[in-house]
């Protein structure tokens, strides 16, 4: 089996971020940039390697569309045990998920990969477009949001796909195809620093593809986007109900309840008797539509 994995090095957006006003660049607040291999890409890589373990004469080839200094994800894949890694050099003037998908699909066009594995979305752009677009360009079937591969044999993939609200479905796809994986799809394996540094000493193959985007089936994408810090959307805040029905007020008095205290602007911390507290909890949950 020939497996292709698409990876990307991203900014660790779980750390505090800031948008640099002049350049619109997103970087880390008060510290050096921390980047890592996109976690769902890492899961995709793990699944591919697991499939390789199950089918020993398979190959796992890893690709990334990135500039020369942003290829840490490829070195990681190498250290983790990929059979080969390759950097697809993008044109300096073109960017965006459709272009990325185009480069990848062009690379895969004549290669006969059985399965193309991608992460479902990146920590930075979060557009979740590249996987489906590769499938469209190659006219392959696709599965997105896969959380578990149950079986991969006889040209078919049997997998669990995640839907919303915790629901999942068991779904089958014919190969060749494109699958995007969620972070939960695999428990990642640790790669020691020694192996990372060992991988660093190796050369990564680079390929330049001459592609003309206008000739391909791609969605239109804005030429320019502006990044801004999020503006808090003020939704009607929940406040504990001080206008309790008389019956409840009496109950409170009889129980020696204490008036609710507001500790900070953002949250309420209430004290009182259990009836009062449970009722307020109920209202809070109701207000935020958990009930």
């Amino acid at each position: 089996m020939k497996l292709a994995v698409c990876v990307k090095e991203v900014l660790d957006s779980r750390l505090p971020l800031q948008v640099v006003p002049q350049t619109g660049e997103v970087t880390h607040l008060a510290s050096a940039r921390v980047t890592l291999i996109n976690p769902s890409d890492r899961a995709a890589l793990e699944v591919a390697l697991m499939l390789k373990d199950q089918n020993p004469d398979s190959r796992v080839e890893v690709f990334s569309v990135c500039a020369a200094g942003e290829d840490n994800a490829l070195y990681f894949a190498l250290a983790r045990g990929a059979d080969s890694v390759e950097r697809l050099a993008p044109d300096r003037h073109l960017a965006g998920p459709p272009y990325t998908a185009l480069l990848l699909a062009s690379r895969f066009a004549n290669e006969k990969f059985d399965l193309i594995c991608c992460g479902d979305e990146t920590l930075d752009n979060s557009s979740a477009m590249v996987g489906p677009l590769i499938a469209e360009l190659l006219d392959y079937p696709q599965l997105t949001g896969v959380t578990k591969v149950r079986e991969c044999s006889c040209g078919k993939l049997l997998a669990e796909r995640s839907l919303d609200r915790g629901h999942r479905e068991l779904i089958e796809m014919e190969l060749p195809g494109v699958v995007t994986f969620k972070i939960e799809a695999a428990e990642p394996r640790y790669v020691s620093v020694r192996r990372l540094e060992q991988a660093r000493r190796r050369e990564i193959a680079v390929r330049q593809l001459d592609i003309v985007p206008s000739k391909s089936r791609l969605p239109r994408w804005p030429d320019a986007e502006k990044k801004v810090p999020p503006r808090a959307r003020v939704k009607r805040k929940f406040t504990p109900d001080s206008n309790l029905p008389p019956a409840e007020r009496v109950k409170m008095i009889m129980a020696g309840g204490v008036a609710p205290q507001q500790s900070s602007q953002n949250s309420a911390i209430l004290e009182g008797d259990s009836e009062y507290l449970s009722e307020q909890l109920f209202r809070f949950l109701r207000h935020h539509e958990f009930i």
Binding site: D12, L15, P16, H28, L29, A30, S31, A32, V34, L36, R80, E187, P188, R189, Y190, V191, S192, V193, R194, R195, L196, E197, Q198
Partner: protein
Amino acid sequence: MEQITREIEWNVTLWMQVFLYVGAFAGVLIAGWRLSRRYHVWKLGRSANVQVSIPRSLANAIAWILNRGKMPRDGFASLMHLLILWGFIILFIGTTLVFLERQTPLHFFYGPFYLVASAVIDLGGLGFLIGLGMAVYRRYVQRQPRLKASAWVGTLLGLMIAIGVTGFLLEGFRISVTMPGFEKVSFVGYGLALMFRAGGLATEELTRLHRADWLLHAALSIAFFGLATVYFFRHIIVSVLSVALRPTRARGALRPYELSPESNPSGSVFDMTWKDLLDADACTACGRCTSVCPATAAGKTLDPRGVVLKLSDLVSRHASRRDGTTPSAFDTITERELWDCTTCGACVYECPVDIEVFDKIIDLRRQLVDVGNISPAARGCLEGLEHRQNPWDYPPAQRATWSETLKLPGIVLGKKPEWIYWIGCAGAFEPSAQSISRAMVEILRQAKVDFVVLGSEERCTGDPARRMGDEGLFQRFRNKNLETFRRHGIHKIVTHCPHCFNTFKNEYRDGGEPEFEVIHHSQLLSHLISEGKIRLTGSTADKQVTFHDPCYLGRHNGEFTAPRTVVDSLPGMKRVEMPRSREKSFCCGGGGGQMWLESRGQQRVENVRLSEARQTGASLVATACPFCKVMLETASVTAGQQDQVKIKDISELLSETMER
């Protein structure tokens, strides 16, 4: 006058002699061959970064034989071993004298020399048997928990007793035939001879019995030589080597770990160091390490003796392997065992033959980490370290948040400060430890110590990375921190964290000259108190306090006094010692990466320690390590005793009672 001597090999035929010499030769050959096989397996191990110095090794070995190293710590065992060892040596010398007298032109075995020698030999033999009796008592009657009552041991003990007994019988039979008066010096033999005579045995019978017993004694002795390298009996020879090659580095420093680029560690003998393989064969299976291991005490799967013996077993398996297979330590050692270790060093402190016990455990961890075979919690911690420079996975930007309102003096490039107060990751991120940092800042300011902090230039020292087994990650931190120190010309560091202290002191220089001086805050504080720079007011109520020795300050680095001085200087405090204190201190359970790993096992290590503290009647536990503080606090919460016992760092206690 009768000649005071005896006829050597009286009643011993030529064939018997042939049997003895051939047999003995064969026995020694077998033993030698077995040892040599093991030696060749040891050589397969990788380099141990050990400078082998013959003079020092000899000195170690001799000193150990004379003063018996750590044996005296257990009085009964010490006496027992002394009797067995020296009894055996005396008997052996006796046999050698006999051999020399017979087989060489030397002629000395007569007259006063003979009388003295015979008496001493009998004493030796008696001591030998008494020692063995003590051993049997200890193992089978008293049933000491750390001693296994296995069939092998029983057989070997029995064999030695039989040798001793048959030896005495031999003497008895010999004497009983002629009953020379001077043989009263061989009091045991003489006594036996009297008994035989009294029993009415005829001379012929005695002669026959003597011959038979001689053969038996010879056979048993040959068997003994042959079996001298089986099971823990190897220690007779190998332990001398392990003691001779005892490491000279500080106890708190782990060995560096260099793998060749192609290697793929799998737990085979090639992946262990030769020293570890040799050590494992030196193990006497005494179980002292296990008896003091905190993980074992808390019911976890780790059994340090087990790990060492399994490594010894690996050597055996490798020596006897069939072509094509390479046995691995991981065939018998589980990952769980390895991850239970807190690196407290109690095992190394106790081991009578200087086996580097926990170093082996860490080395095996290193192999697991290299292959990536670790639990999600361990992975989370190591990756957090790699990306965020701290093991708690906090955003690096928050490192200085704890001190925002304190306006701490930061380091300025170009200005050489006197002291750097190194906060460490715990002191910066862990709320319970932040109060230690705050207390220290107050004290340093009050005592007008000229200090600065590195603020966001601090990063983890790499200690958790090293203990958890990623040596490459440790080296990264080490290099970056050393670069920071050099850039700023830092040469004096004080830290409240013993882990940082240990790593800076012992692991940041690897044999070269230290580039900077580092002290622990307890040392600085006790100095400040003695200089009168801090004055204490009598504001604490009479409290009973016990001091918990941190492993990385105490056992690993020998500092027990300074923190006690600080506690004793607090007015109104009554300090009591826990039964396991100082070098014998019982770990809090936080070291070796345990702070970030999942906990398993019947009990928590920290709860075991907390109960011990509570049993002293103390309502306050003083610590000198942020990890100890957090672990013991967690223990008090888990045990529901937060109100009954408080855990405080010495700096917090000082700050509370300090005159401002």
